[in-house]
Symmetry: C2
Subunit: 307 residues, 2 copies
């Protein structure tokens, strides 16, 4: 049978404790058949994003083991970060990469989600493709209010979890587990400490995404990064084939310039499809013919095919 | 045994006859275990560059079959292009990509070179790593004077071929076959028809490459593209890890601006290492942390490892 590859990109609510980050990574590396591709820990977001991939069942096992570390070590009662969150295992998506159907990732998400609920006593919500029929399915809705709003509250009706106890775990909150297509998590840092500039840009993006094709599926938040005294437009490009990375950056540059602010740098959280990076290079190099098929390294993979 | 991958990037002296280009490509595609990754045919250079890769012996067979097509169909007596050349199979490098030593590519080059000499009656020079001891080894020296200078002349001493007859083939000239590391063939087109601008920029690059680290190993020619009424700085980055593609482009932009000329577009001939493309994107995106390890697609190859 053709080799199957699933990706998992869980977000855990600790980006400051090096030992916790190390143990999360080690939990994943300890599973045979899984490759840990990226660890992004951010002290201001107070959040760590792991990116790993491999055979479906191995990835599910690694995801569960990392969840165990997070539930054991992360205490939301003392957690303060600039990014919205509801739990220690804040969000855990499974992504079909090769020879895997979305329905198989839905199955993995359910399997891991029920296991988290049962073995770790954490309420679980399923999201996006893994959402149960008639239930809320988008991340912002499920996370709304955050840990503080729901701690100690009986979770009923719309807030009732899909699995596990009907109260947040006292320290680990709730877990949101799901299946989705690849997205690009991309932050643009601006050379100002005025958070309202980043918020205004994020608001404009949310307002314009109905009208501007290149903003389709772009989620945006404006955040202050206290440790650095700068602000950030934190973006998720959920339909990256429709919203070129370079185009979104130029859009933010233009909006920032209206506030006499410049882009200081950008950050990629986790990985990005090669196509998005090649598109940016093509724009810069004035080389419209450049494509993924121009990358020597990709041709070394016997299973890789140009589109 | 670990899967071996060799690349071959032969340059044939016809970029205008569609049927010849099609037959060259078909010769390569017809060999099992070989993937044809790129076909770059240019009417002004009057040259076609094929890029293919696969198992060593399969790549050698495909290279020889393409050489047969070229020798049969290409007549240098009526060939006029802007790029220097001495034969129908003008240059044929073998490049070690994975689990292959340079010495194995030298062996392949010799095997294919002797076969071209013997079966096609074409004199062959071996170049770079495949050059025979005490013989000239660099391409510009071997190609100097071109087909016209050496047609009908008895080839002796420095010009004596390494294999085959000591006169050029009447229509196919000579073939230069060798082994080398990966390089980037990169053209920068300028919005002027003054060829002296491109020549001056190329001259400056050749002059400065002893002094400027980012120009190490950069070969440059200034050419007119008659079919388009513009000029081109045609570059080979023979040590691409030392000369960032984006940096060389900025350097040419600066030199061109001194002539009130701008870059119109760039062209990649064949493939480029992912690192060179990612570096360009990193520069544009102001994202110094971006690396090949940020590309999701590369992680799908189980044999790929970050540096």
């Amino acid at each position: 049978m053709a080799r199957q590859v699933v990706e998992c990109v869980p977000n855990f609510s600790d980006g400051r404790n090096d030992e916790t980050v190390r143990l999360l990574a080690e939990a994943v590396r300890g599973v045979a058949g899984v490759r840990l591709a990226n660890v992004s820990a951010d002290p201001d977001h107070h959040r760590t994003v792991l990116t790993f991939l491999g055979a479906p069942e191995a990835v599910a096992e690694a995801a569960f083991r990392a969840a165990c570390v997070a539930v054991e070590r992360i205490d939301l009662r003392t957690h303060q970060g600039v990014h919205p969150r509801i739990g220690a295992v804040d969000v855990m998506p499974f992504i079909p990469l090769r020879n895997v159907a979305m329905s198989e990732c839905v199955q993995l998400a359910r399997e891991v989600g029920y296991r988290i609920a049962r073995e770790l006593d954490v309420p679980v919500y399923f999201y996006e493709h893994a959402a149960l029929p008639g239930r809320p399915h988008d991340l912002p809705t499920l996370r709304r209010g955050g840990f503080e709003k729901w701690a100690g509250v009986v979770l009923t009706e719309d807030r009732a979890p899909d699995a596990g106890p009907n109260r947040l775990h006292p320290t680990a909150g709730a877990a949101i587990v799901g299946a989705r297509h690849p997205l690009i998590a991309f932050n643009i840092n601006l050379n100002t400490d005025r958070v309202e500039v980043a918020q205004h840009i994020a608001h404009t993006i949310r307002q314009q995404r109905q009208h501007v094709p290149q903003l389709t599926g772009v989620r945006a938040l404006g955040l202050l990064l206290p440790s650095r005294g700068i602000v950030q437009v934190s973006l998720n490009l959920t339909q990256p084939e429709r919203s070129p990375l370079w185009w979104v950056l130029e859009y933010v540059r233009t909006l920032a310039a209206q506030h006499q602010v410049e882009v200081l740098e950008t950050e990629l959280i986790g990985l990005a499809p090669a196509s998005a990076i090649v598109e940016a290079a093509a724009e810069y190099l004035q080389n419209p013919a450049l494509s993924e098929a121009s990358l020597l390294d990709l041709w070394l993979d016997p299973d890789w095919q140009p589109d």
